[in-house]
């Protein structure tokens, strides 16, 4: 049984939930009935009073973010490819400054979730709220402007351009300079170019890549390309950073460094991070909340400790243990 279902069972089973107790409901109904009699109307004796309970709330966010608008909230999110339900009834909340993990066996639908969040695919069902704003009907570029940035599982850099230009393209919507100012080199152009240059180098400094600013992006080593993708994503000024297997192809030392950097990014920029990763050291090391996906469905949510102890998760990854 999943954690969600457990909670639900407990809530709908019998006992008092949240602040509302059965007693309160009863007291309220008695009072209402009394009022009805007083006004000369008779309350229908056979109508049963509905029992009200708080709906099962299966969201988890860090305590420090509990009272802030969550940066991401997915409600009953789903997408079908033909008859295949690639993602089904995904409920997810990511707190304002949370580092969250999305894990699951191969083909579980993790990258599909990222593609839904960034509107590469339009969801078949459900709602995505980004910082409280419904993203229905937006396209990929618009969602980026609203504050979701991402990296890709198979690196997608602007290969023929320099490292600095890659970051400047990330800054596209942060600094303005129209076509005419650009062509005729108006003062606006020189101001904006200076800002582009300074901010690009500042961002590259986060990963100590300022020395590579003039290198061609496609010629960088694999690990550096992954880091550059993160820098480019950060340049868009996101509220939520989606990292698709950031540690893929990295050695343990590089992974360790990456973990420090992800935490540093969260602390410095005060943004939320949602990452897909197969490297369990990284996931268990830095993720605060973890969601486990299998066959497009959430099978568990919780802290790293809870997830590690969860029999369903173990079964999804290792098969049934006898």
């Amino acid at each position: 049984m999943t954690r969600d279902e457990k909670t639900y069972k407990v809530q709908s089973g019998s006992a008092p939930v949240g602040g509302r107790t059965e007693g309160t409901y009863k007291a309220q109904s008695e009072r209402a009935a009394a009022a009805g009699v007083e006004q000369g109307r008779e309350t229908h004796p056979k109508r049963q009073r509905t029992k009200m309970v708080a709906p099962p709330n299966n969201y988890l966010v860090p305590e420090r973010d509990a009272l802030k608008t969550p940066v991401l909230e997915c409600r009953h999110l789903g997408i079908d490819f033909g008859g295949l339900k690639a993602v089904e009834d995904l409920n997810l909340m990511v707190g304002k400054t949370e580092i969250a993990g999305l894990i699951g066996p191969n083909g579980a639908g993790k990258t599909t979730v990222f593609n839904l969040l960034t509107k590469v695919y339009q969801p078949t069902r459900g709602t995505i709220l980004l910082d409280g704003v419904d993203t229905a009907g937006m396209d990929t570029a618009r969602v980026s402007r609203e504050g979701i940035a991402r990296t890709f599982q198979n690196i997608r850099l602007f290969d023929s351009l320099t490292v600095e230009d890659n970051v400047k393209i990330g800054l596209h919507n942060q600094v303005d300079c129209g076509m005419w100012s650009g062509i005729f080199r108006m003062p606006r152009y020189w101001l904006s170019e200076k800002e582009f240059h300074d901010r690009a180098l500042e961002l590259l400094d986060v990963f100590n890549m300022a020395d590579n600013a003039n290198d061609i992006a496609g010629s960088l080593p694999y690990g550096a390309q992954r880091r550059l993708e993160i820098v480019r994503a950060l340049a868009t000024g996101p509220k939520l950073l989606l990292l698709d297997e950031p540690a893929a192809g990295m050695n343990p030392v590089e992974t360790e460094e990456l973990m420090d950097n992800i935490v540093k990014i969260r602390d410095d920029f005060q943004i939320a991070v949602l990452l897909i990763e197969h490297d369990m050291d990284l996931v268990m090391g830095i993720c605060e909340g973890i969601v486990v996906l299998n066959f497009g469905k959430v099978i568990a949510k919780g802290t790293p400790e809870e997830i590690q102890a969860n029999p369903q998760v173990v079964e999804a990854y290792l098969g049934k243990q006898d």
């Binding site: 940035a149 997608r156 393209i169 303005d176 076509m179 650009g182």
Partner: protein, 362 residues
Amino acid sequence: MDRLKNLSKASRDTLITYAIVIVAFVIMQALASMHAISSSMIGLLVPITAYICLSISLNLVVGISGELSLGHAGFMSVGAFTGLVAAQVLAPAITSGPVRLLVAMLIAGCFAALAGVLVGIPVMRLQGDYLAIVTLAFGEIIKNLLNNLYVGYDGSLHFSMKDTASLGMNGGKVLINGPQGAVGIEKLSSFIAGFLLVLFTLFVVTNLVNSRSGRAIMAVRDNRIAAESVGIDTTKYRLMAFVVAAALAGMAGALYAMNFSSIVPKKFDFNTSILILVFVVLGGMGNIRGGIISAALLTILPEKLRFIGDFRMLIYAIVLIAVMLFSNNAQVRMAIDGLRGRLSRKDDDEALGDAIEGGDAQ
């Protein structure tokens, strides 16, 4: 020299291109004034500058934006004929030839840009091969429309798609006569005007490429999905490259048309589009300087090969194939790179320390 080295690679490249264009202009101008070149060559000077402009502008679409467009001559013809009409209509108002040419070219650019927007909106829904075929079709449509267009001027403009009789003119002059095109064109174009247009085209394209918009255009070319993911409106920037290129092609078309006494719409057919594309591909897609050089050489080559008569186009084709093969051969490239490396090392002998330290001293 030191300051030159400190410039970014892109701006150094641009400066070298400007220098080549200016030096070539000065040399040709000097040779022409000394009567050191044949009259047939002098007749080619303006078409060469027009083709250079077309090559630079098509490079913006094919090389920088990464879309294969096969209808560039269509925008050239829109510019050519609107430019001709504008020059005739403005004749009483503006007596100075060069000023009239300038105004006519600007009007031509505007109309070609308008055609670019109209064609671009449906075309930008497509990609790759499909886009190429649709631009080809639009090029043909523009040519056929102009083939059936009659324009007369008798104080006011008259248009017809049937024949000259249906223009309903009181005297005046027929400016565009359907498939017979325009005749009795006032020759306003000059080599200097062509040279200035090349500089202007170069200015617009290189500045656009090295700006925020240009980076966005190249980002879409390199990786469309990534460009969208960082919030770039891909359609907008592809359309921007397409329309700017169309406007510049229109201006070049006006320059080209006003170099001849008569011009027919058939001149701007598929073959011309392909010819411009050959300039771009031969010069290296995205390499503006290469495109300029190949446009100049490939316009001169058939003229120089005239002495071998019928074999002319055969040799032309063989030269094309040979250049393409050689320039795309990895071993030839390595040999050239090696040679270049050895040459530049000699230059840098004194600045050896610099080269070891500096990452961008390439």
